[in-house]
Every structure is written in structure tokens, then in C-alpha cells.
Symmetry: C2
Subunit: 363 residues, 2 copies
């Protein structure tokens, strides 16, 4: 992935730049630092599409007044272990961490906490939120709906976002198991990468505007759709579709946000949906105290055993054997903390444009 | 699926037979009725592999003393919204509904309830449990781990069960959205069906005992494995693997049950794992009051809108368009309530054998 044309930046420099940009657009200090932390986490963990690469879109939305830089985030309904939060159209990078803390604080008292969030915007990587929960000896869940790109199985229309699910479990001596996955077959970023390189995409990633399976990376972008995890009926495409619906309902319908094809876009140039059925997009967070179920220390020892057992799985031919969910992101983080974050030229150009627009120096 | 050789039975006759069989093996009246209800639900909903087809295995386990017919199901740890339940090695068909009620009762008071269950056995279809929650205006979640059949991506060893996830959302005038899916690419039952018919299976379902992708349905059965949802790395097999791990940890590790390759078998002839790392297999149930987040009536109206919107998705060529999760099961139930449940010959033979063994008449 560090393409030939990549330029390397220290993570802290990118974090500092993002913070100053958010401040420039009227985001309060703590929120700007928080938002930059979510982006930095994506860049460090190798989820390049969700780090500073997104800053350009956030800036566009902020400068055009589509995102509220100083939201009044409020709890609109709650029980001991559930709440609905209205994000007041703030940055998802600010509303998300706030709502996630509410879930964890509820869990502290009631054993678990579940928060559905409306009136919010894109929140970065779902994995960020579940890593926060680990620090409090909790099992964290995070989901978000998003702009529609994915067709339901047997459809040929963008009806669902890439709707990720994340959950994490801590080990004691071994690293945590960190699951963070979109519910479509392949990330949009991978298709963009194939377009840039002029390479075909595997069958099962997307369809063209006639509803046909395609290996041309231009097709899903130009009026086609991504396919849900499982890709087709035979291989379980109805399951990926079901998971995307689950995320959409928990985030969108349950909170009173927009759902399905009505989720608003996260960047200026994207099409605005025909209808609005709620406020903004939606997130869903969960936190469960491990010791609400079992002694936290024994749980972590079992996770150590789990990790070691799965690492010892007999490898398939031509592979080095199964990974533990979270391994690739941990490897990226080790590497990038040491050597910096590679950014491809178009992203560097975007950041330079932001720099010119705001007068905040970049590299 | 109603194969040529199928014989049709009224659902109530099968339910009555199952109840009497459970009673015969010392299961108390209410529990026998409960267990038969779970099986009947699978038969009605068209999940043939999980209905009376499983009675033979349950009988084997009961008659050999591997399952406790009169379990003392207990809560071993709890907070306001979480609990761990020890199923005392009872039938999963009894322990599951009991633990699910605990989750719903907690939700009644605390907004949500989350129960991890150890020392239990196979619990039938996950969908059964989330349908129960709908009746109480709750969103229900159900998961279970199970005997290992599935390899992690890049492995060639059975390390995970088919580990299903179910969740349901009620509509007002429209039927509920009911998601109930195994986390592997294709159900074991489908491979068995292909073997019976002598037909090849699609690539992506399983591997042979050399770790190679196969279209021979005998291969995954004879020393091979099923593949996780997504099938291979390119199409997201790491995601299906991640989901299976999520289910396994929530059900197995969190409750103190066996996990991964150590989940005990559900039938006599199956291999006993080399190690035991806990008690029995595990389940995980969740229940959330809808009105803990949003007015229940507005939620249901939005689900109606959701269902209608998704039914109106532009159909892919050669299809009649996307289904709503739960549609196939609802169609089966309508048909089978009217016309009865088709059982293929080998299942009928099993039930006749049980009849001879117990003296309880069958057809």
C-alpha cells in the first residue's frame, strides 16, 4: 500500500495540522484535539482512507456550514443502560467519542450501556471507539451507517452504506482481538486504488449500472454499486446484506437519523438524497463491563489462550496461517509510529490546498 | 427443498411427538413443551436441519446421560443489565429460552439485558429467541457457539462453529425484519443436501483435507472444513472469520464455556475435543427496550417505511428484487402451517427408530 509515489509524514505533524485546521473552522480546542486523534488513529493503523485523507471533505463541509463546529450534544431519552443522543449536526469525530463515553459511563453503573446517535456525521474508524472501551476493561461495540454505496442482494441500486461493525476483547499478555469490518465485500478505497493503478477488481466486489457483476473498477463508481459481504446468493450475499441492515437500523432508525438510501453525503460533491427521513446519519455504541459477566483477569487469560490457540491453526497452503483480528492494524501502527505515515500524492495535494485556504502551514 | 422423497406431517403432530419424547427421557412437562416449541419453530420456518431432524441427536445425548434432563439453571454473576447463567448441562432448547427470558426481564427494568450462558447445549434456531423479544416490544439478539466445522481464513483446520447471529426489528403493518445467519459461507446442511443429490458445491463453501478449495461436497465432510462468510481474502473471508470469533468470545469465553475447537459435539458419534477449557458450549442473548431509545410506535412506522423502501429497490437482472430478511422463513411458515412439514426419508427413519426405542407411537 505505501505506493511508490507516497511521501512520508510523522504522525504527530499530521495530528497537529488536523488540530489546527479544526480550530481554524471554529471547533473548540478539546474537540479539535479529539477529532484529530481519531484521524491520527486511522493513519497509524493503516486505514488510509479514514485518516487525514478525509480532512478535505470535513473542511468542505465545515466551511460551507454543513457541519456545526460547536454542537450542543444532548441526551434526548434514556434508561439506566440505554440512551439516544442528538449530535446537533457536529463532527462525527467529536459526537462519536462523546456518545461512546456516555455508553461507557452507563456501563460503569449499570453493567452495560447502549447509545444510539442521530444528527451526526462521519465518525472515522469504528475501531477507534472499541479501543477506548478496552482501556476501561470493557467490551466496546461501535457501528455507523453512511452514505449509500452498497446494493442489497438481488438489487442494482445503492441502498446501504458500507456500515461497519467493530468490537474488541482484551488479552492480558497477548494483544487484544480487535474486529473492525465493513459489511460489504470490499472497501470502496480498494476500488479507488485499483482505478488508480488501472488494475481489474475481483468478481464479487461490485456491479455495473446494468446490474452485472464486473471486474472493471470504473463500473461500481460510475452508476454501479458495491456488493454486500458474501457477494452473491450462493456464497451468502444475503448475510452481508442482513448485517448492513442491522447496522443501519441500530444507527439510523433507532436514533431517528436518516437510514438506507437517505443517509446524507459526507462530502460536498456527492449527491443529496431525494428524501430526508431523520436527522443526519447515525451511530450505535455499546459498552459492557467484563466483570459484569466474569472475573476480568480470567477473561483476559482465556483471551491469551484463545489468541495462542488460533495462531497455532494449521496454515492453508501458500499462507503463513490465520491472523488474529487486529494484527494488520497493529503491524501498521508499529511501523508507522517508527517511520511515519505514507500519504499518496493526491492526498498531499488536498492537504496543501487546505493549507493555502487557511494559511496554516503544511510540510 | 421439499425433496421428491419427502413425507408430509402436520406440525402439531411433530410437536406432540417431540414433547412426549422429551418427557420420556425425564424432562419436566413445561421444559418438554418449551423444547418441542423451539424445534417446531425451526420446522415451520423451513430450517429443516434444526427441527425434529435434530431429535435423534438430542435423544442420543439424553439416553447416554450426556445432557441433564432436569437442570438447575442459575445466575452466577449479575449487574443491573448483565448476567452470566450456568445452564447445568441442560438441553439448550430449555436453557436458551430461560436465559433469554432473564435478558428480557432485565431489559424491562434497566432498559437492556445481556446474558452470557455457559454449560449448555445446542439451542435450536437463533431466530426463535429474537422473535420472543419482538412480542415484548424489544430488539432481541441471540448467538451461540457450536462444534467446530469452520476454518479461520488462511487456515486448514476446524476451529470455529457455524456460530449464528440473530437480531430482529418489529414493523407495525409490515412484517418484522428478522436476521438469522450463520457466519460461514454456506450451511453444513446444504453440503449434506449436495452429497445426497450427488451435485457439486460452489467454490467458496469449503476446503478439502489438503486445504484446497473444492467443489466436491464430500471433501469438507471428510477431513476438510467449511469456509467463513466471504470465503477468501479478496472477497472478505477475514470478515466472516472475525464475526465467528466475535460470537465465540461472547458466548464461550465471556460465560466460561468452551470455545473454538474445544466446543463439545452435539451428537454421540462426533469426535470429543482434546482439551476442555470451560463448561459445555455457550450462548449470548441481548434484549433492548425499543422505548429505551425512541417511541416504539414511531420506530415501527419507520420500519414499515424501511421495508417498503427496500422492497422497491431496482431488481438485479434475472431476479425479482431484494427480499426483506425473514421473508423466506415467513413464506415457509405460511405454507407449512397450511400444508404440513415435509420430512425427507432419512429423518422419518430416525424418528421411527426413536419411536421403537421409546414405545411412543409415530405416524
Amino acid at each position: 500500500m505505501p505506493a511508490v509515489e507516497a511521501k512520508i509524514f510523522p504522525s504527530d505533524a499530521l495530528r497537529e495540522f488536523s488540530t489546527r485546521i479544526f480550530l481554524h473552522f471554529g471547533v473548540p480546542k478539546n474537540d479539535a484535539v479529539q477529532a484529530a486523534d481519531v484521524l491520527a488513529s486511522a493513519d497509524l493503523r493503516g486505514i488510509d482512507s479514514h485518516g487525514v485523507a478525509r480532512l478535505y471533505s470535513y473542511v468542505g463541509m465545515l466551511s460551507e456550514g454543513h457541519i456545526n463546529p460547536r454542537p450542543n450534544i444532548s441526551i434526548v431519552r434514556s434508561t439506566m443502560s440505554t440512551a439516544t443522543v442528538d449530535g446537533d449536526n457536529g463532527l462525527g469525530l467529536v459526537v462519536g467519542p462523546h456518545a461512546n463515553r456516555i455508553a461507557m459511563d452507563m456501563a460503569e453503573k449499570a453493567g452495560s450501556g447502549w447509545v444510539s446517535v442521530s444528527n451526526t456525521n462521519h465518525f472515522g474508524i469504528a475501531g477507534y471507539y472499541v479501543l477506548q472501551a478496552l482501556e476501561r476493561d470493557m467490551i466496546g461495540w461501535a457501528m455507523t451507517n453512511s452514505t449509500s454505496l452498497v446494493t442489497p442482494l438481488w438489487g442494482m441500486e445503492r441502498m446501504l452504506g458500507t456500515n461497519p461493525i467493530a468490537i474488541a476483547f482484551p488479552g492480558k499478555e497477548e494483544p487484544p482481538i480487535v474486529i473492525d469490518m465493513a459489511t460489504c465485500a470490499a472497501a470502496y478505497g480498494k476500488i479507488e486504488m485499483a482505478r488508480r493503478k488501472g488494475e481489474p477488481i475481483p468478481l464479487g466486489w461490485g456491479i455495473d449500472n446494468q446490474g452485472q457483476n464486473t471486474t472493471n473498477p470504473d463500473d461500481p463508481v460510475n452508476g454501479g454499486c458495491l456488493l454486500p459481504l458474501g457477494s452473491d446468493r450462493e456464497r451468502g450475499g444475503h448475510k452481508g446484506y442482513g448485517l448492513a441492515v442491522m447496522v443501519d437500523v441500530l444507527c439510523g432508525v433507532l436514533s431517528g437519523a436518516n437510514w438506507g438510501p437517505f443517509a446524507p453525503p459526507f462530502a460536498l460533491r456527492q449527491e443529496i438524497p431525494k428524501r430526508s427521513v431523520g436527522k443526519g446519519i447515525g451511530h450505535f455504541f455499546g459498552a459492557m463491563r467484563i466483570d459484569g459477566f466474569i472475573d476480568a483477569d480470567s477473561f483476559k487469560r482465556q483471551i491469551d489462550d484463545y489468541v495462542r490457540t488460533f495462531r497455532a491453526t494449521k496454515p492453508a497452503p501458500g499462507t503463513s496461517g490465520p491472523l488474529i483480528p487486529g494484527d494488520p492494524e497493529r503491524a501498521a501502527e508499529r511501523e508507522r509510529r517508527k517511520n511515519g505515515v505514507p500519504l499518496i500524492r493526491p492526498i498531499v495535494e488536498d492537504l496543501r490546498a487546505i493549507s493555502r485556504q487557511t494559511g496554516i502551514p503544511f510540510d
